[in-house]
């Protein structure tokens, strides 16, 4: 396999891992984000116990270094993906690591919505569901979007560690060819591709933010 074939294949693997885990993490992370927002002390239904437990869990999952998390969740990965190694398998730990992050950035986006607007919605007879989806979520879209941009960039970084469980991707190529075989060319090219990736995601994120806010 030529170097360019190798890089293209790895790039596609990275894209696949990042895209799948971002979508899954955003969809799943949205649920704890909503619960955290509602039960927070300034939320619609303040509940110290529920908030406390969820807050603690989010912090616990965020404390694990990704490389360790990946190993810990191997049995779970096997259950979900049917195998513990490979690109598909890496999506599981990547998603798990991103869920608490997504929950946090979405929580802070939702809670930063002007409380006056929420109060106005209440005064006009909105139900809690309407307040969350038609007011808070709608107003928070730009902030949620920047949170997702951050999540994607984090996941690009984490996906490089996926090589440790044979996930492939650019990180894997960089380690095996660039580091272990001292082939400097691979290090440079993989790094460049990653830089372009991150820049592109950030620029796109900024553009969408400006367009939507």
């Amino acid at each position: 396999m030529t170097m360019s074939d190798m890089i293209i294949k790895a790039t596609l693997q990275t894209l696949q891992m990042v895209a799948a885990s971002t979508v899954l993490a955003v969809v799943i992370g949205f649920i704890p984000a909503i619960i955290l927002t509602i039960t927070a002390s300034d939320g619609l239904r303040p509940n110290k116990v529920v908030y406390g437990i969820l807050d603690f869990l989010v912090n616990v999952f965020r404390s694990f270094p990704f490389i360790i998390l990946m190993v810990i969740v191997i049995p779970f990965t096997r259950m979900i993906a049917g195998k513990a190694i490979g690109t598909t398998a890496a999506i599981v730990p990547l998603t798990i690591s991103a869920i608490p992050f997504v929950a946090r950035v979405m929580e802070s986006a939702l809670r930063s919505v002007d409380p006056g607007v929420i109060e106005a919605a209440k005064a006009f007879g909105a139900s809690d569901t309407q307040i969350i989806f038609r007011v808070a979520f709608k107003e928070a879209v730009p902030a949620i979007l920047s949170g997702i941009t951050l999540t994607i960039i984090n996941l690009i970084g984490y996906s490089a560690m996926g090589g440790a469980i044979g996930a492939g991707g650019l990180g894997d190529v960089a380690i095996r060819y660039g580091y272990q075989r001292y082939d400097f060319g691979y290090l440079v090219v993989t790094s460049l591709v990653l830089i372009v990736f991150v820049q592109f995601v950030q620029l796109l994120g900024n553009h969408m933010y400006n367009k939507l806010s």
Binding site: G116, V117, A120, A121, F124, G125, A126, Q130, K138
Partner: protein, 324 residues
């Protein structure tokens, strides 16, 4: 329309409202005025259930607000509208969708011909026909408040609650908004409750006003009564009684109310008693298009009694100002 009897509210151990009673009539503009932290906004929020209360009774259109919950509260709130100091519009929706929001909460189709016509009519009424598709960020403060007023009227409410609605606006814009509120009050026969710390607002539009201080009503009545002849609490709020009055002679304060505002009392008394008097202080203000106020005259101590009896004979209200 709104009956409040012995209302009490606590935040933890702090009593924010103590034994408040007031009766707001159908179709009137009722003012609630006081310093920040006096409890006036809290009182207003009790009226639409945004705040609860621990004792007493608060009935709007015969419904005890504390007895409402869930669905009944949401339906009740469609009749009681509200505007705010900071407008509280959705930043990411245009003017049309901001006005349509309460309809959306009620589950209506906001693009039906009927609702479209209604929203455009309201925007025409508040003078924003040319801003239908603007975002709030492209509007001035006064325009934002006009959008908020249109939004507040879209459900055909019976009561409009105004929470410091003009406090963030400049004096001229304030006048425009007050004129609009007066117009709405007349054309739609809408009961309006206005919470403010601005005397101008009360003077311009309120038919009655309550002064709130530390969670109590310390004075209630027509604005011209309260401002022209204030009691001690109202005086303290208004501040600035005559700063430097003459030390010699006697200072007598004369009140101009609706009955004698146009009479040339001073010159007449001066001529009839053949005495000189000087004007030491004065304030004339506009109350819903009537000029009212007070004047302090300084006369020789020996003539003070005769001046006072003359004032009595003209039926003018007066008060001797004691030296502190």
């Amino acid at each position: 329309m709104i009956q409040i009897n012995n209302l009490g509210k606590r935040f933890g151990n702090v009593e924010v409202l103590k034994d408040i009673s007031m009766h707001i009539e159908d179709g009137e503009i009722y003012g609630i005025i006081g310093h920040s932290g006096a409890g006036k906004s809290t009182l207003l929020r009790c009226m639409n259930g945004l705040e609860d209360y621990q004792s007493g009774s608060l009935k709007v259109m015969g419904k005890e607000v504390s007895s409402l919950d869930g669905k009944s509260m949401r339906e009740f709130r469609r009749d009681i509208s509200m505007i705010f100091q900071n407008f509280n519009l959705l930043n990411r929706a245009d003017v049309y969708h901001n006005v349509a929001l309460p309809l959306q909460f009620a589950g209506e189709n906001i693009n039906s011909d009927k609702n479209k016509e209604k929203i455009l009519k309201l925007l025409d009424m508040v003078g924003l026909s040319d801003k239908v598709h603007e975002r709030p960020s492209n509007l001035s403060g006064g325009q934002k408040q006009r959008v908020a007023i249109a939004r507040a009227l879209v459900m055909d409410p019976k009561v409009l609650l105004c929470d410091e609605a003009t406090s963030a606006l400049d004096p001229q814009t304030t006048m425009g908004i007050l004129d609009l509120l007066l117009k709405i009050n007349k054309e739609l026969n809408l009961t309006i409750v206005v919470v403010t710390h601005q005397m101008e607002v009360v003077k311009q539009i309120c038919s009655r006003v309550a002064f709130i201080k530390d969670g109590n009503i310390v004075a209630e009545g027509r604005p011209e009564q309260l401002f022209v002849m204030p009691n001690d609490d109202v005086k303290e709020f208004l501040g600035g009684m005559p700063d430097v009055l003459p030390k010699s002679g006697e200072n007598i304060q004369i009140f101009y109310d609706c009955n004698n505002a146009a009479e040339p009392i001073i010159t007449r008394i001066s001529r009839e008693l053949d005495i000189d008097m000087s004007i030491a202080w004065g304030k004339i203000e506009n109350f819903r298009s009537t000029a009212l106020g007070a004047l302090v005259i300084n006369v020789d101590a020996s003539k003070a009694d005769s001046v006072c009896s003359k004032l009595d004979s003209y039926g003018v209200k007066w008060e001797r100002i004691k030296e502190d």
